[in-house]
Symmetry: C2
Subunit: 244 residues, 2 copies
DNA sequence: CGTTAGTTTGATGGTCCTCAAGCACTGTGG
DNA sequence: CCACAGTGCTTGAGGACCATCAAACTAACG
């Protein structure tokens, strides 16, 4: 059972359902096939039909789509405890790319194993559906960022969101977190140009709100930043299990 | 069984799993509690904890979030066959609003019924997860629209997407479809101002690509529009059931 | 026939993009 | 030990795209 206890995914799912011993065991089995990938490795190609999903154990990844013009849109970043490629198991073909941003460790899950696990323990299916819903909520908030917030609010909101998500798996505290993203990554995620991201980061730093530098995010004025970005954790919240 | 056969949701889910008689019966049961709402009725309030999900039988709805500045971002439009408020059943509280755009008919589904259905027929859970994944793919494409496409491409892409989705439930053909949206709706969905939407629609009409007027979308040059918008149906596709 | 919601068009300006060039840091090979 | 390249960061100048403000117009409806 320690395997699951130690896994970020187990921790996440337990926030939604109180998992029984049997369900724990089934979840453990999904963690069997451990693999490592180097930074830059593509786990999933747009347009290919896909065999596996992955549970991210350590490192950062990102999912993105590309346009014929060569620009790309990063849809979301994945951190430990997140499931990679769930959608591409269920849909016919992958409609996006997934790439390791750092060296990562994952558990590979075959579609058959996933469906078999659902068949055995429907509550686990509900829990995975919950996790997928939460991911969608993140994507939606991301869309609000791009559609209706100014560049400055957008960057502030995004840095806070990643901080909150990382803190749920013990990878951030209130002062900040290590962050492997370049300004180009931020630009591609937030629908901005890298040049403008740079200017915005400078502004936020000069205003004493947040410092993004040398692979680290430091919240200089957490309260001020939260107020400025209108950051509300409701869409990320998980206070107590919903299903007993 | 005719109930399910006739329901747009049944049609949608059968594209993913070949449903057995038992699964059909469970799905029928979810359609029992039929209700009607008038245009403008709010089915779901941001911040409230939610009791029910709804399966949309007829009419249009939309989900959106609001910002303190008073602006709003429409996340997606729902058409017959779509599930409303699934996320708010699973997450603690609703993080968005859902509103009827036209008079609508829905089947109300209580969370307990949904979980019970999952327990009885895990394949139905997988099918619902598939439907949720597809909805997320739509939201993601929507994000690409806002983040990386010009206003003109964005409007063109959106009109094509709705056409394709509607055609899957028999509410559109290649020449166009009836559409209850105002230019304000388009603006709120696409991250534009209503004034600019108007100018873009005029341009698309003058270029002979598509006409949006008096509650109707008419594709004047479907091929040209698809090319212009770089529209690829991959993310919406459902050619054959994945699970036999 | 007044009211209201939605559409259309014009004028002005701000946000953010693009292009361009210089800087800082890191690792590599001569 | 020092070019040198590569990657990412920084700053400037000019301009495009789209927002905002404002006002007239149309259609529907009581």
């Amino acid at each position: 059972m320690t395997t699951v206890d130690a896994s970020p995914l187990g921790r996440k799912l337990r926030a939604f359902v109180a998992l029984s011993d049997v369900e724990f065991a089934v979840l453990s089995r999904l963690h069997q096939r451990r693999r490592s990938f180097a930074a830059g490795h593509a786990l999933l190609h747009q347009g290919h039909s896909q065999r596996s999903a992955y549970i991210l154990a350590s490192g950062w990844a990102c999912s993105y789509k590309t346009l014929p013009t060569g620009t790309r849109q990063i849809v979301d970043f994945q951190i430990p405890g997140d499931i990679l490629g769930l959608r591409s198991v269920l849909l016919q073909a992958s409609d996006h790319f997934i790439e390791a941003l750092t060296d990562i460790e994952v558990s590979e899950v075959l579609p058959s194993e996933l469906f078999e696990a659902f068949r055995e323990t429907p509550r686990l299916a509900a829990a995975v559906l919950w996790a997928a819903s939460r991911d969608e909520a993140v994507v939606v908030e991301h869309m609000i960022d791009i559609g209706r917030r100014s560049a400055e609010e957008r960057v502030a909101h995004f840095l806070l969101e990643m901080g909150f998500r990382l803190s749920l798996v013990g990878l951030a505290d209130k002062t900040g977190y290590p962050c492997p993203l370049s300004q180009f990554h931020l630009a591609d995620a937030l629908g901005l140009s890298a040049v403008h991201v740079n200017r915005v980061l400078r502004k936020l730093r000069e205003d004493g709100l947040v410092t993004f530098r040398r692979g680290n995010v430091h919240f200089d004025d957490p309260g001020g930043l939260i107020a400025f970005a209108d950051f509300d954790t409701a869409y990320l919240d998980q206070e107590r299990p919903l299903l007993q």
